[in-house]
């Protein structure tokens, strides 16, 4: 069940077989969520954390004018609201963007792991630090990057994150989102996203059609995005 979580962790840390068993025993139950289903609502008291097994989720906030900002997209293997283990509630919502399967991890089990397995505790800590790094990069995009660079950056980041969990196929990956979803991630509108995607497509750089991203010229995409994967902490070392 936790295979993708292990792939994600092992890209950055050394997790031995005994530790992998401990992680597997964290899971109490799994559940399917339909597209657009809320998985966690803001301000609700929480006693379990969610691990995304399949599908795609996001954390978002609604704005009074009816618009929505997606702060982070989550891919399989992401321990999406590990944060609630410590925070006990979230200040934002978590939603399934497409049909998704989630594993529930009770907070008491996480507490047991932090007591008995200090290295795993650090690994889990790492996971929330990585989310923070992804959010910082997103702030740079929203504040300083052009629409073209924002989209290019997101496409680069998702390639790396999906590749780690074995969900890329050569230069392509499935991104089952709409242009409207992308607009909500990038502070744009679906019209603007459509126009900007055309620029990437006509430049022979990348395309996003029918729910599939194809990167035709990785170097050019990374150049447009000013993408530096350093913030994804891909060094495999004992944390």
């Amino acid at each position: 069940v936790i295979e993708k979580l292990l792939m994600k962790m092992r890209a950055r840390d050394e997790i031995d077989a005994a530790e992998a068993r401990v992680l597997a025993e964290l899971v109490l139950d799994t559940q399917e969520f339909a597209a657009d289903a809320n998985v966690v609502r803001a301000e609700v008291e929480l006693s379990t954390s969610n691990l995304l097994l399949e599908g795609m989720m996001c954390r978002y906030k609604d704005v009074a004018n009816g618009e929505r900002q997606i702060m982070e997209l989550h891919v399989p293997g992401d321990f999406v609201d590990l944060h609630s283990f410590i925070l006990k509630r979230l200040d934002h919502n978590v939603m399934a963007l497409v049909p998704s399967r989630i594993a529930f991890v009770p907070h008491e089990r996480l507490a047991d792991v932090t007591r008995a397995h200090p290295h795993l505790a650090r690994t889990l800590w790492f996971s929330t630090l990585l989310d923070a790094a992804i959010h910082r990069e997103s702030m740079v995009s929203l504040g300083r990057r052009t629409a073209l660079a924002r989209i290019a950056h997101l496409l680069c980041e998702l390639y790396v994150r999906l590749d780690i969990v074995g969900l890329t196929d050569g230069a392509s990956y499935k991104l089952p989102l709409t242009q409207g979803d992308l607009a909500e991630c990038l502070g744009l509108t679906s019209v603007h996203v459509n126009r900007t995607l055309k620029e990437l497509r006509e430049g022979g750089i990348a395309s996003f059609q029918g729910g599939t991203v194809t990167i035709d010229d990785r170097a050019a995409l990374e150049r447009v995005a000013e993408f530096n994967p350093s913030y994804l902490y891909l060094e495999r070392r004992r944390r």
Binding site: S190, V191, N194
Partner: protein
């Protein structure tokens, strides 16, 4: 909810909206078109030049264009004096 398609027609040509979006009525589609135009114009403004000659064509599911929102009508231009030399 009906699906509307927001195609862009500008100096570069025609950009088809292949995906469309579900919106309650044509008025909601018009607002989406206005927001889209403003989003594009605002980024052009950051680059120092805005082109108001484009437009967004709102089409229904049958492909009929039900309205056209020009960039020029998406924003009110209050001061059209030529820029200082």
């Amino acid at each position: 909810m009906p699906t509307f398609f927001l195609h862009i027609r500008n100096g570069l040509g025609f950009i088809e909206d292949e995906e469309g979006c579900e919106l309650p009525d044509p008025e909601a589609a018009r607002l989406q078109a206005v927001k889209g135009a403003r989003s594009i114009i605002s980024e052009e403004a950051l680059g120092g030049e805005i082109d108001l000659s484009g437009s967004i064509e709102v089409a229904d599911q049958a492909g009929r264009v039900v309205m056209t929102v020009s960039y020029a009508e998406a924003v009110r231009v209050r001061d059209a004096r030529p820029p200082p030399r």
